[in-house]
């Protein structure tokens, strides 16, 4: 026994430090979520100090769930945004990785260009997309729609074809800051940013694929789709699981893109809702934080199972 005691003793400080590192913020959040705690109050100054005498049980949770605005919208949107981005990045990432896995002139440059969106900072990404590309007046979106309308209007003057083009509608550019569209703007810009990450991971694992097996499959007369379906995809199962897991962790906590696109109008998630409460109501913000931890854990359980299964095979 003594030969195991020393290493354990030496590990203890690190383990205690790690425990404190995790436990202190979490238990403070838990504590604040059960008391009345606001930054400033004209009516009830006693609520501005975090104290046990302001205990209110599940009151904050009740407020967040049933009285305050947008809790369920935030949960739905969190899941909608994360799952849409996951599907889009994995599909696009697979397709691009397969494409650039072939040899062609300029492959090095193409790969570098492909990876580069990943190095743009999230806030910069959002500002660029929403102002220069998606803006319905000054952005590419508005300019392109204007140009199409002008071309169609010009074609209407042609003798025979004109009648056909006069049936075409005048297009309206989509406003990506609107209530119904802002979540899509976030999905588009985050997908643009994170597809390179998926490409990078898939590209490296494609290079470890067994070429002899592929050649044998070709000799056996398997077509490209069946080679992809039966050889490449199983080979990529593990990297796909890793991409899905890492991205879920990152995208559950999206904030900058939501703030810049529409300030939470139609596209808020749980972190954004917490941010709204922190302007004064720390108790409600903490209760929402606990919900966010629970949601992240539910997602993590599913993901770990999936990844775990893949790693076992």
């Amino acid at each position: 026994m003594s030969d195991r005691r020393l290493p354990r003793l030496l590990q203890t400080p690190a383990v205690i430090l790690l425990l404190l590192w995790m436990l202190v913020p979490l238990s403070m959040t838990l504590y604040f979520s059960f008391i009345r705690y606001v930054l400033n109050s004209l009516r009830r100054p006693e609520w501005t100090q975090p104290s046990l005498s302001n205990w209110r049980g599940f009151g904050n949770y009740e407020y967040v769930l049933f009285k305050a605005k947008d809790f369920w919208l935030a949960v739905e949107n969190s899941l909608f945004i994360v799952s849409s981005i996951l599907v889009a990045t994995v599909v696009l990432g697979l397709a691009l990785a397969m494409l650039v896995n072939r040899t062609f002139p300029g492959r090095g440059i193409v790969r570098v260009l492909l990876i580069s969106p990943f190095f743009v900072m999230p806030a910069v990404n959002a500002v660029l997309w929403i102002n220069m590309i998606l803006d319905p007046v000054l952005g590419l979106n508005g300019i392109a729609v204007g140009a199409i309308n002008e071309t169609v209007a010009g074609l209407r003057d042609f003798p025979v074809l004109g009648a056909f083009f006069s049936l075409w509608p005048v297009l309206e550019p989509i406003s990506f800051r609107g209530t119904d569209t802002s979540a899509y703007a976030v999905i588009i810009m985050v997908t643009w940013q994170w597809t390179p990450f998926a490409v990078l991971i898939f590209m490296t694992s494609l290079q470890s694929e067994d070429e002899q097996q592929k050649e044998a499959a070709i000799l056996d007369g398997a077509n490209a789709w069946s080679r992809f379906r039966n050889l490449t995809l199983p080979h990529l199962a593990r990297p796909i699981a890793i991409v899905v897991m890492i991205q879920s962790i990152f995208h559950l906590s999206l904030y900058a893109e939501i703030e810049i696109v529409s300030r939470g109008n139609g596209n808020k998630n749980l972190p954004y809702l917490i941010g709204e409460f922190t302007s004064n109501n720390i108790g409600a913000a903490s209760a929402t934080g606990i919900f966010a931890v629970i949601l992240a854990n539910i997602v993590a359980i599913f993901l770990l199972r999936m990844v775990g299964k893949n790693l076992m095979d």
Binding site: V38, V137, N265
Partner: protein, 426 residues
Amino acid sequence: MKLHNTALSLAMGVALSTTAAATELTIAIVNNGHMINMQKVAEAYTAETGVKLNWVSLEEGVLREQVTSDTATGGGQYDIINIGMQEAPIWGAAGWIEPLEFGADYDVDDILPAMRAGLSHDGTLYAAPFYGESSMVMYRKDLADAAGVTIADNDSWENVKAAAAAMHDPDNGIYGACLRGKPGWGDNGAFITTVANSFGAAWFDKDMKPQLDSAEWNAAVNFYVDLLSSYGPPGSEGNSFNEILALYNEDKCGLWIDATIAASFLENPNVAYAQSPNAGNPVGANWLWAWAMAVPAGSPNADASKAFIEWATSKDYVQAVAAHPDFGWGSVPTGQRASTYAIPEFQAVAKFAAAEMAAIESAAPEPTDLKPYVGVQFVAIPEFPEIGGAFGQEMAAALSGAKSVEDALAAAQAAADAIMSEAGYY
């Protein structure tokens, strides 16, 4: 140059009498033009007094978040903070910031009465205004003339709508009215509240019960949504000050109702000004705002901080900006002191000055029977940022057509009601 030097020696005298040499002050500022300029102008202050200044320049929303949490918890990161009219009276009441008293040379009565009222609590000044603003109509005179319409001071909303309709020409990329739609209490919330004020609506009744379900609010918001969706640019729900300024400078807007400070950034020479439209309501239809400087309570450098604020918000500071080689009379901060408007050199470069002054003078932040709370385009209570945020999102939803005006106002009313009862008002 002579005045410039007097300013510095005066400031030096104040600073030396209160602090030892080599004091360092950390100042949190909002990244607006006037504040950025102050960093350069204040180099002379450091040279004369030896007070070293560390600037932390932040975007408006981030600044509010940082400064609020730091001040609320007594963090002590900053010696001087930039706050606005929403914060000053309630933070003063909570004892978060120090009361400000300056010497006779400072001439506190020169500060515009509306500004003093908005930055005070119980008659004590808690923040000194660095610059102030109201809102007004800015419109393209050439387009209005071509369309044969005019916009008068305090015109009726119906006339303004008719003018917007006459200037509206989307096929040529010109939109009749550019107005704020981006969610936020300081964004679309500020503008819509001024429209609502002019329709006779108020945020709360005298028991602080939210009134967003009133007929006046309904009429005001219906008018706003109708005006902007008929004659506004596409994507208005994403536009606030900076976005509209970009559109206006691309010659895409007919009329714009926004902060008076915008006038100094407009590049088109054909701009004319008018006082905001009103249906004859005494609260008026223009807003009132000041970016001001305050000292967090318990700051160890409180005396040196107050000395700096006294210099930076003085008449002499205005002269120092005008005399600075990089700036001049076009760059002086406005809206804070009556004396600035009497300076001929300033009048010569600022053709919007008279309209700005009139707008500021007509706005009253004090509580009245009609509006039983402090504030014009906001309410000076700690819960308002949260309420105004929820309201702004609902208004953007109404503007983008995802909700009817009635549903959006009902949702905003429910949110405001929940927040107010949670905060213990009733």
